[in-house]
Symmetry: C2
Subunit: 417 residues, 2 copies
Amino acid sequence: MPIGVQRKVLAWQRAALHYARQRENIMKKLFTQVTGSVTAARGFKAAGLAAGIKKSGKKDMALIVSDVPATVASVFTRNQVKAAPVKLDMLHVKSGKARAIVANSGNANACTGKLGYVHAQAMSEAVARRIDAPTEQVLVCSTGRIGVNLPIVKIEAGIKKLLRQVSRTGARDAALGIMTSDTFTKECAVKVGKFHVGGIAKGAGMIHPNMATMLGFITTDAAVPRAALQRALRQAVNQSFNRISIDGDMSTNDTVLCLANGVAGKVSLPEFQAALNYVCLELAKMIVKDGEGVTKFVTVEVCGAKSDRDAEFAARAVSNSALVKTSWCGGDPNWGRLMDAIGYSRCKIIEEKVDIAYDDVPAVKAGQPTRTPVAKLRKIVKSPTFTIRINLNLGRGRCTMHTCDLTEDYVTFNKGE
Amino acid sequence: MPIGVQRKVLAWQRAALHYARQRENIMKKLFTQVTGSVTAARGFKAAGLAAGIKKSGKKDMALIVSDVPATVASVFTRNQVKAAPVKLDMLHVKSGKARAIVANSGNANACTGKLGYVHAQAMSEAVARRIDAPTEQVLVCSTGRIGVNLPIVKIEAGIKKLLRQVSRTGARDAALGIMTSDTFTKECAVKVGKFHVGGIAKGAGMIHPNMATMLGFITTDAAVPRAALQRALRQAVNQSFNRISIDGDMSTNDTVLCLANGVAGKVSLPEFQAALNYVCLELAKMIVKDGEGVTKFVTVEVCGAKSDRDAEFAARAVSNSALVKTSWCGGDPNWGRLMDAIGYSRCKIIEEKVDIAYDDVPAVKAGQPTRTPVAKLRKIVKSPTFTIRINLNLGRGRCTMHTCDLTEDYVTFNKGE
């Protein structure tokens, strides 16, 4: 690229970034954060309790109920091995409507064959019968150990109790009920004018003896048509839950559900999208921060790629590299490993054009180290939160990922006995 | 698949396996292991010494010289970020002939710009001038820290000494001279009738402050035409160095070179291929066993995939999964993580058809856990060497990978300060 053109592209990139940030700020002013997560939106109730699935006696079940049938949107794991509740939900969401989500932790109900599927059906029926809704309107989620049959009697007893307990203040209990290795609940809700968007989530880190899962439940009282809601959720998930990396593994149970009961009436779609994006991203960031053994929260920004897809390849390679993540754990500004990771990714790069900065401090310029003292870079990498900025100087493609370091504690945590 | 057809496929698979093992045994009888690695073949000399590149004072340079110009074959890293010596070698091998390989450890000469390339050229010229060969016939390899200029004066002094020291017994010193984080030298040689194949290698694990590399140098006195030699090396590398995984990262300097000087005259190509395969696989296995912090050597065998490519996707997903490797470290037979990894790989699977065995003990049959007591599986996973056998029951594709566990020591080793 001639220098003139290159400068113009740079100016364009800066302008685009400035515009995006400005828009983000306007959107942030638009909505205010509120409490209550999944019960912030009107017409939703929730509950959570300990049904005895977890040996620890901690909360292991959650229920979210909408007073009226809600429009439903969903995103499921792309893993070819799908847990029974995922298979069931994929059928149920075809009805387009949902009244309730029932979830359990401590047991994934995955690799459990036909009996597993029957158990998932039993869970949805147990709720449906009591709230007087068709079975298809009750969605089921499980997370926990793989290959073990559900203790269905305990679960059915739990469901009865949950239905007695559901209330406008039960969101926190529900958030507790879906936790596995998580150390804190993940809750977020915003109010935009007359409508609300709120959600709870649980972590993507995986632990022994459980193989845990990413679950996200979003509720809103906005009235959004089904197709628009599905598009909106897909977009929100793509820029949040799909842009985080803890260990790069994808689970058999990953599920994000969004229920829109329309109690607040019609809303502006861009406003709704902004609110949904915000809630999903906040929940996703909490998941990374609560990853197993995590000591550092790192944002990886790739720009100047030939396409957004290329940028994603590069950002993902950096975010998933064991060597890169381990160097962060030691507070080591090892930019060589970054070069290596983007070099072997499927993203097109030209070594002599790559710029890398830690926060705003350049470490690599045109593929070669800058004169920045290592101590200055080390100070950044030693802090608990920092950003890696990679400019490939080849185009306009960009991608941002949120990730964490790989620590001895992660290994200790996951290695089992 | 109807059961009759399925049984036939199974019988076919068993027959193919039996045949392959039989052929392997015949081949093993064919050749005898000998000492001397890269100097086992006639007409090759080698040397290694400490030139002062490594602060530790350990050996950091190696030289292999052939008395006569040898036919050369090569496999280089597919990383888009290539070190200067790799770029130089890619030009030099076009001549088809090589007299010498000069290598240094402690400095990768990567991300060093034009000066790095000049330094690589200087290394090859320094050798070529003294052995009276064209510059193109001297190949250069570097491994070690990225982004630091070579101490070229020390290296040129080292080359002078190396040329005085080269001998028929210098192979071990050469193997020492290319080591970085390796704890033992990787050497192997076999004799087949009148010809020899031998080689040295260094590890693929990466350490701080070095970003280490996989290097492999193979020598033979067989006379093999250039195109056939290149095909043979590609095949041997594909089933050895390309079938191992330590952390899944690919380096900027990975290089395998094969020099055939023809002193022993023409040979049977299948015999040569078998010997080359054997030497490369033995070296590759040694690399895995010497991986950083490794306590377990695990073989992952996938069969019954739709194609060999599919089988490779599945085997690679298992071998590279942080969660799977961590569970091995703890001696935990966590087959759920295996199901998860093959499920998210690009390999086509049907959950209800997957069989998994640890050594010969079945853990999963048709996608569901067997009644094998966990203690029995645990005993296998607790041993230092075991095999994971995955049968997808979908076709005839198969792939074998060699990998290791992920330990706290790996993290400690790689995290830097």
